[in-house]
Subunit: 487 residues, 2 copies
């Protein structure tokens, strides 16, 4: 109802640039109508044509990399170098999905020639492929304005699949969203394609209206638990429910086995580096570190945290929620809290990194509380005495995107941890850290609820594109009427 | 609340056999606890062991085929020969899933060896496989007491995937459900496996409690729209939502192009045969037949319907709903109604087959009403004058499991129909009928809502097993800690 987005520079603590109004109802209708009208033409393009469009979007972003990264940093303070690297990741992703679309194996083609055997063995000619699911709503993330943004992996996968896309821009980077959108629209124009293939909407209400709109056939979301949960329920409770692929997680455990604890100093500094990447604003943040007591790890990590400088969070809303959630973690009975140096008066909106430490029995007594999502630079460290306690904790944790185990090769505790964590995680990492999601076909970036709302969901890797397709089998169909890949 | 199931013989119109009480809360808890306790052992079995168990269940059912088919016919009147054939289909399905489990390609293994290239190309060793999703609830169907029953495709796929299963028995065949359950439990005992791997519950409340139970990780359902929709919403609105694979559809369109209308007599008799299979109680029932006006098809189909004898429906509840829904169809403005001979006084609970005919403009004016699910022997015939009208109707229909087109090879109308129907159907059949779902890897038995609650869902074919698995990626994991298929 007349809201708007304006860029906020988290370092300067100041709003800047134009006030971009939320998408008004009439504009929303036009955008959705244009998407629906363009759907048929886009799904009928060849795979080669769609791959070309994805590559051209990548080329356009690469050519504008410096300016886009600077604008993104002005709007989010996530770091201009890191953001320039993210542009590279994003265009790599666009090209990788383009290659996948060219290749066609994502269609999962299966052909069973007719068999005249008696039933139940005999059957007609059956050929299965995948077809576009329909117009897709993409909800862009705050913390990866490129890779999970307007032209991020979800948009690339949906366009590659043959689906038109309407993106809900994230209010933390409104100008960047417009700029990326302009690049996509420019590429569509250059290719003589309808502009409606890509749409962009702004504002809370537009986001809510999108997931219940009759023209939308699937939705992909990266963001907070509360927003993702609400949208996923709207999607499920529609008169005609649609698939909702929500990635909501940022609470990921890292276990250090007793045999690995001797690596103390290196582990501690690697942990803190991973925890504080982009000031803790990673969905693969290593929020929970579980270590043997008496290993000195708590002391070393505490010292590192205590000497890490304050830094800004990407948006005022993120800041406010972080402070609330940090207080919840710090309030767990038994918690020992360490904080970095407080921000000075000039940069009073910066936040200090923090560490909350508990014994394993304290953690087990408040297992829901320890998994409170606290998006930002705070870690929770849990100390165990006996290995059984670490395993008991692993058994009690919620679903997560990624879990890590630090251990030795001949390490029964580490082996048991890998087995247990496989039950709750979408990715299990050995002797490493959860941050950094490699863009490779074998990647799985998903996980059991609450990491995602759809346990088979992945937003990175070869399977990401299948979210926007559905299978169709053709029975006894003449060759001329079959999709090309089935002939 | 003290309900019970008792077998009903639809031919005799009489209840028979023991009164089987609904699963009491305490028994429900024991069944679910046993399932949860057995989950770890079952998921740790080798694929070979699980395949052996599936084959042994098939062997046990085959050995008892005659007795089981007779009991099923006593309880459902679906026909003893048809039911004996269905036992064969069911055990074929068990063996086919066993072969798939042996083969292992359903795990979708993907291995990306580490690359030391610079980012974003470089990446650690990443290997993806699929792991069991957890304990599965299976809701058995009324109309295929074997193939979609207690040991049907859903149970076979879930067990094959490594998930323990709790089946909600269908009240239309309570004794048969017990007997099949005994065979499964017997096989588990013979293999020295925990009985908890397979559980059986009875009653409306047990069914509702199952989908919200914290020990259940996924659910598969075949049945009515109302029940499936209610259960899918319960699944989506849990504190931790679970995947719900509901197959709810039985409204499937068949289009006859002007060029194919000359086949008149054969088309009419094939249509009526497909429509009346198992007295119309097929989820792939050809409920809507769209034909050129003036082709004589309406008259021929009407005559065949008018001379088809009354027959029983499988359960009193099915009977009552059928009568209600048939009245709704017959009440569509403009509807011309034909009925077969009325049942005599002795068999007053039998139902007569029926045909409701409309013009395409009448159908388009009541497009929701024409898709009213009427589970039983009633067809809706729609006549069009111009081909455009047939296409307009195809564009307005809801999602369906299967759509059929009768046409010639050089037939633009038929080609356009195939293209349009691909947008709403899970399977598109050329010059054939929707009934009869071949058990082959390329099969897709699913479709857009309301055919199913999950558009990627299939309950038949190579992909059926993936419903009960979820992907996991291992990063930099030592060989000894990897699942066998990833080493």
């Amino acid at each position: 109802m007349g809201g708007s987005s304006r860029s906020f520079n988290p370092r300067a603590g100041q709003y800047f640039g134009p006030d971009l109004p939320d998408t008004a109802p009439q504009e929303f209708e036009q955008t959705l109508d244009a998407a629906a009208a363009a759907a048929s033409e886009w799904r009928s393009t060849t795979r080669r044509d769609r791959a070309d469009v994805l590559r051209a979007i990548g080329t356009a972003l690469d050519a504008d990399r410096g300016r886009l990264a600077q604008l993104a940093d002005d709007e989010t303070a996530l770091g201009v170098d890191s953001l320039a690297g993210e542009v590279g990741r994003t265009t790599f992703q666009l090209r990788q999905i383009a290659d996948q679309v060219d290749d066609g194996s994502y269609l999962g083609v299966r052909i069973d020639l007719a068999s005249t055997e008696p039933l139940p063995t005999g059957h007609p000619d059956l050929r299965r492929t995948r077809v576009p699911v329909g117009p897709v709503a993409v909800y862009a993330a705050s913390n990866f304005p490129f890779a999970f943004g307007v032209a991020g992996g979800d948009t690339a996968a949906a366009l590659g699949a043959g689906c038109v896309v309407v993106v809900k821009a994230h209010p933390a980077h409104p100008q960047l969203s417009e700029e990326i959108g302009r690049h996509i629209s420019g590429v569509l124009r250059e290719h003589g394609l309808p502009i409606g293939i890509f749409g962009l909407v702004r504002g809370f209400e537009a986001g809510r209206d999108l997931v219940v709109d009759h023209r939308i056939a699937a939705a992909a979301f990266t963001g907070s638990f509360a927003a993702g949960r609400a949208l996923s329920q709207l999607a499920a409770n529609r008169a005609n429910p649609i698939p909702f692929y929500g990635e909501l997680g940022s609470v990921n455990p890292v276990f250090v086995s007793p045999k690995a604890a001797g690596r103390g100093g290196a582990l501690a500094s690697e942990y803190v580096a991973s925890l504080l990447l982009r000031n803790g604003q990673f969905c693969t943040n290593p929020s929970i570190l579980v270590v043997p007591s008496g290993s000195g790890l708590r002391e070393t990590v505490s010292e590192l945290i205590a000497s890490s400088p304050p830094a800004p969070l990407l948006a005022p809303g993120v800041h406010d929620l972080f402070e609330k959630r940090r207080a919840l973690l710090a309030g767990i009975p038994g918690a020992r809290v360490v904080s970095g140096p407080q921000p000075d008066a000039v940069q009073s909106w910066f936040v200090s990194p923090g560490l909350v430490s508990l014994s394993v029995s304290e953690a087990l007594a408040h297992v829901d509380a320890i998994e409170t999502e606290c998006f930002g630079p705070v870690g929770l460290l849990v100390e165990y005495d006996a290995a059984d306690e670490a395993l008991a904790l692993a058994d009690r944790l919620h679903g997560c995107l990624v879990a890590c185990v630090h251990g030795d090769e001949d390490d029964e505790v580490a082996a048991a941890l890998v087995e247990r964590l496989t039950r709750i995680a979408g990715r299990v990492v050995w002797n490493g850290w959860p941050t950094g999601v490699a863009v490779t076909p074998a990647q799985h970036h998903g996980g059991p609820f609450p990491a995602t709302t759809d346990v088979q969901h992945t937003s990175v890797g070869a399977e990401a594109i299948t979210r926007f397709l559905r299978p169709v089998a053709y029975q006894a169909m003449p060759t001329s009427l079959l999709p090309l890949e089935l002939r």
